[in-house]
Symmetry: C2
Subunit: 337 residues, 2 copies
């Protein structure tokens, strides 16, 4: 009986193992992307900047890739998911706030009064976000966000929100990381809300999530430490706020940036204005069948100025309807509809 191959055979096996990964056919890259212009541009970029000796080579430490979240990595209709979270939180918290029964905009939320809610406008929305996002410790807020994400479902798809992430973008994140990129979220969403699911869903750790922030305060109550979220905005991570937070927090200009709306314009401009080869991309919501179709006139995720800029600057514009074979994880392959 011979439990193991002879030493010499074992060495040959070892050598084979070392060689195999190079010789085996590469697994298909970006399987949910049709072989269209966007996929070709992304693959050409990654191939060039990671090939030692290429004139466009970028050292691994500088391979910073930034992604907007709402509308870029997951859906954002009929309303930003974080706003839907805030509305649900008002209902959950209502028993502790009997005064909300008679106080707008909370009354409108509790009575599902869409008209009164719309009338409350942006000011009302900020009140709702403030009431549900601040006045608690960072640990408490994280627990609230986690609880909601685990239970809540989207009003149309009836799926958990974390299943409404874009499968092609998950593949893009993975493809970039396999090629030595550090993937970041840079989003108008509140940073702690996104961190509650970004690591599990996108594989993006908390320290690579950048977003809107509230002023916080370190507290020491008899040796019990906490960090209180206060009702004052520290940074609005939208529009010009995106390159500002990138410079402040990453301290290095990205080489790859993806967004979907005018709020991402400055991030894409800042990225592509750097020296050397860069890629900027936009997810264009063209698929009214499988997702939503909207751009220049939408109140949520308006894509107008950035779409004009994309044409002039040869940015990648992903036509969701034409270029993605599936939208969400688990969707059937619709390569040939």
């Amino acid at each position: 009986m011979q439990a193991f191959p002879k030493p010499q055979t074992r060495l040959w096996l070892l050598a084979l193992l070392l060689v195999l990964p190079l010789a085996s056919p590469a697994a298909e890259v970006l399987p949910s992307w049709k072989d269209g212009p966007s996929r070709q541009a992304i693959e050409a970029f990654v191939t060039a900047v990671t090939r030692a000796g290429d004139k466009d080579f970028i050292p691994p430490a500088e391979r910073i890739a930034v992604f907007d979240n709402d509308g870029t990595l997951w859906s954002e209709q009929p309303m930003y998911f974080e706003v839907l979270f805030a509305l649900d939180e008002v209902k959950r918290m209502a028993p502790q706030h009997p005064e909300w029964k008679d106080e707008q905009p909370f009354k409108a939320v509790l009575e599902n009064d869409q008209k009164a809610l719309a009338a409350a406008g942006e000011k009302g929305l900020l009140q709702i976000v403030g009431a549900t996002h601040t006045g608690v410790t960072t640990a408490e807020f994280n627990a609230n966000a986690q609880r909601w994400l685990a239970k809540a479902v989207h009003p149309r798809s009836h799926k958990p929100y974390t299943e409404m992430v874009f499968q092609p973008m998950l593949e893009l994140l993975g493809y970039l990381r396999e090629n030595g990129f550090k993937t970041y979220i840079v989003s108008g969403g509140e940073v702690a809300f996104m961190r509650a699911f970004a690591e599990e869903v996108y594989g993006i750790p908390p320290e690579q999530v950048i977003g809107t922030t509230f002023v916080t305060q370190f507290q020491n109550k008899d040796g019990k430490f906490s960090i209180l979220r206060q009702g004052k905005l520290a940074h609005n991570d939208d529009g010009p706020g995106k390159p500002e937070s990138i410079e402040s927090i990453i301290g290095r200009r990205p080489v790859f940036a993806f967004g979907n709306s005018d709020g991402d314009l400055q991030m894409l401009q800042w990225t592509t204005a750097g020296e050397g080869r860069r890629l900027a991309g936009l997810v264009h919501h063209t698929d009214g069948q499988r997702e939503w179709a909207y751009d220049r006139k939408s109140n949520i995720g308006r894509l107008d100025k950035a779409l004009d800029q994309a044409t002039g600057n040869k940015w990648v514009v992903v036509d969701m309807a034409k270029e993605w074979t599936r939208i969400y994880p688990g969707d059937p392959d619709q390569s040939h509809p």
Copy 2:
């Protein structure tokens, strides 16, 4: 003539190469640390939290280690090095500011008038920092900091400032990184000033440097993009500001923290109050011969409350004079003075 060994020999060599790193005796860890209480505590911590199956095991993603900079990673006497930078910058910029000849605190700087400078107090210092750190783009400020770091020398040692980093702490940073820790700077210093040397000197990339920040503004001048540093503080990364920025930027509680002054107290408290095994340490400046000796009464890097807390909480307190065999890179080994 045989250019290469025979195939079979090559395979044996290959096998040997694969086995060697495991079989060779481990290189000495922390060579500039005497085998004293601090080194023992650090090694015991790292061994426990990285050993699979150990009750104290910490997954790699959670191995966040934070370090203060001034007085912890490099010296800070007779004044924070960044202040010395600001004073030199006033002199460099003086030709563009003829009004400074007659205007305090700038007049005092230009005339090396220590008394008038001291009289200008903290307000004067803030004016000097503001004038030299803001009103320029982030690219311009980085160039200014780099230029100074490349040329300036310390008034006593006559060494470049970047050679006044602590060799034992460089070894500690490397030891932690080899064990899967992500090393961060969390310092009262201005973030862009530290980033100008942190990657080269400490091996800490810009995105792992957290510090005091100014408000910035994204600018688009006829399609030329820049980020302007404005004369308004955005975040003061000292004392309670440290756990606040850790929570906001890293989003994960550190498991290892090192500081040297009362400004680090809250960072150490926040770190050690987390669940599971943690290590907090203080560099105690006890070496008036090789560096400087100061603690409870110093205006720079005062260590008073944190020293009391260290005793009660069994934090590591590094006695520089007794525990470090060398202070700066290139110093002779002084294990047996």
